[in-house]
């Protein structure tokens, strides 16, 4: 079940509804799951992203690294439409949105953005769990209220997801009763419950106490080995080394280097990447 070379079991394994398996992805060669071209974004006069291009293949893990302010979080948020890019094309699965040129009017644009957003699940740096809902309610909220799937089915799936992130016994607790690492794992379960094609992680361990980082990275590693397609913004270089298929090093709103962890992390070509990695691995 966890054979990473076989990510497409979900939906034709005779066990639909098992969310611990990633959604089925039929990827033809040369047609990756995610394609971003010419992505641009400014906040006022400040240009945060200048023509970002990258692709993400189904079942692969892409790690975005770079100094703060380099635009990596904005790239991630653009994939989930939390930011609306000013230019470029974003395609995830079958949904493609062109942000260059005039936007379609009103509700047409809204529909487009909603369709794009529905392709991915998001895990935030500061978990952003709904504090007034129990752990289980947090996980079933999207599937029941938004996707209007049958409650019984969703409940079973949610319990399996909580089991997957090691929190089955916390289902009826409120978020404030959990540790930071547990909260973050609930956040992961909440995103998985939406059955996205793509999982996005925005510095998921940056706000955690050091001894809690491991439990979250472990869950993410498990997801990767199960064949989930993931895009991760992180400063955890060891995670990138072990799990990433592709590393993108960003600085000043552009992708400065890209390649396998062995290329970008072990043998950076540019001075900027070398300096950055040096500072992260040996801050003193």
């Amino acid at each position: 079940m966890t054979d990473p070379t076989q990510p497409g079991q979900y939906g034709h394994s005779g066990q639909p509804g098992h969310p611990e398996q990633p959604p089925s992805v039929h990827e033809t060669p040369g047609h990756p799951l995610v394609a971003v071209t010419g992505l641009a974004k400014s906040f006022g006069d400040h240009e945060v992203l200048t023509s970002i291009d990258f692709e993400v293949h189904a079942g692969s893990v892409t790690v975005l690294i770079g100094p703060s302010g380099s635009g990596k979080t904005t790239v991630l948020r653009s994939l989930n439409t939390l930011e609306t890019p000013d230019g470029g094309v974003v395609r995830i699965g079958e949904v493609e949105v062109d942000f260059s040129g005039p936007a379609p009017k009103g509700s047409a644009r809204k529909k487009q953005l909603a369709a794009l957003r529905d392709q991915s699940g998001m895990v935030f740096q500061s978990h952003n769990l709904f504090p007034h809902m129990t752990v289980l309610q947090n996980v079933i909220e999207g599937p029941t209220v938004v996707q209007r799937r049958p409650r019984e089915e969703v409940m079973g799936e949610a319990r399996r997801l909580l089991d997957l992130v090691g929190l089955a016994e916390k289902a009826d607790q409120y978020p404030y009763q959990l540790s930071g690492g547990q909260q973050q794992r609930v956040g992961i379960a909440r995103a998985l419950a939406l059955r996205p094609k793509l999982m996005l992680f925005d510095e998921p361990t940056s706000a955690l106490d050091p001894e809690l980082v491991g439990e979250v990275l472990h869950v993410m590693k498990d997801l990767a080995s199960q064949g989930w397609t993931m895009v991760v913004v992180t400063h955890e270089i060891r995670f990138a080394q072990q799990v990433a298929d592709q590393v993108l090093f960003m600085d000043g709103g552009v992708i400065v280097e890209r390649g396998t962890p062995g290329e970008v992390l072990a043998n950076p070509r540019t001075e900027r990447a070398r300096q950055f990695l040096q500072r992260i691995l040996d801050p003193l």
Partner: protein, 222 residues
């Protein structure tokens, strides 16, 4: 206290209680609930990015807060007939108090909504919620917790403000006390009974507020 005074008080305990239960309390509750609806709409308008919409809401709040409640009552009951709009006393009072609560509570609700962290809106968006679903399922439940103490103040003030309706012929608690006292000039006795009734209503509401706050705090670390 003379026997005569005691007798008057005893004779009027029931009529005053009846006025409190059948007029003062319904007037308060109906105006408050309708006022909250107005307030929610005005608060959301104030938060709108469309200038004209937020400006209209701001003007409304400014007028309500900047003019005496008694005057608002008079304008609706005595003023509007000049424009051909006439209300019975009770509906006129409901309208005036609703609009008044709407203005004050709008500010409370607006700040309670703003107190909900931006990350909650974002998380709601990532699970696929639109604006109204986000409000209903995520933002308002959390804003309620912040808003309960100040809204309780508004409600308790309103209980006492309904006594102003006595000036537009609504036979609420104060007016019944006045009418009972007038023939014998026993104002001290009758007003005291009315005061006790107002106080008891407010005590009950304070107790309700405490219970609501405790309930809302179940999901917050102490």
């Amino acid at each position: 206290m003379s026997d005569q005074t005691v007798q008057l008080i005893l004779d009027n305990l029931w009529p005053l209680l009846k006025a409190a239960v059948t007029v003062t309390i319904p007037l308060t509750l109906v105006s408050f609930v309708l006022g909250l609806v107005v307030a929610l709409v005005v608060a959301l308008m104030r938060l709108s990015p469309v200038r004209a919409v937020s400006g209209a809401a701001r003007a409304y709040v400014s007028v309500i807060r900047g003019t005496p409640l008694l005057l608002q009552l008079f304008i609706i009951f005595y003023g509007l007939p000049a424009l051909g709009v006439t209300f019975e006393p009770f509906p006129a009072a409901v309208i005036a108090f609703t609009l008044n609560v709407g203005g004050y509570a709008a500010e409370v609700i607006r700040s309670a909504i703003l107190a909900v962290p931006k990350g909650q809106w974002e998380a709601a968006s990532t699970v696929g919620m639109d604006y109204l679903t986000t409000l209903r399922r995520v933002v308002l439940p959390q804003a309620t917790r912040t808003a309960i103490p100040p809204l309780s103040n508004t409600l308790i003030s309103l209980v006492k403000d309904t006594s102003l309706a006595s000036t537009i012929q609504v036979t609420e608690l104060l007016r019944v006390a006045q009418e009972a006292a007038a023939p014998t000039y026993q104002f001290f006795a009758m007003y005291s009974v009315a005061a006790v009734y107002y106080w008891v209503i407010c005590l009950g509401l304070s107790a309700l507020q405490t219970r609501l706050e405790e309930r809302q705090n179940r999901y917050v670390a102490r």
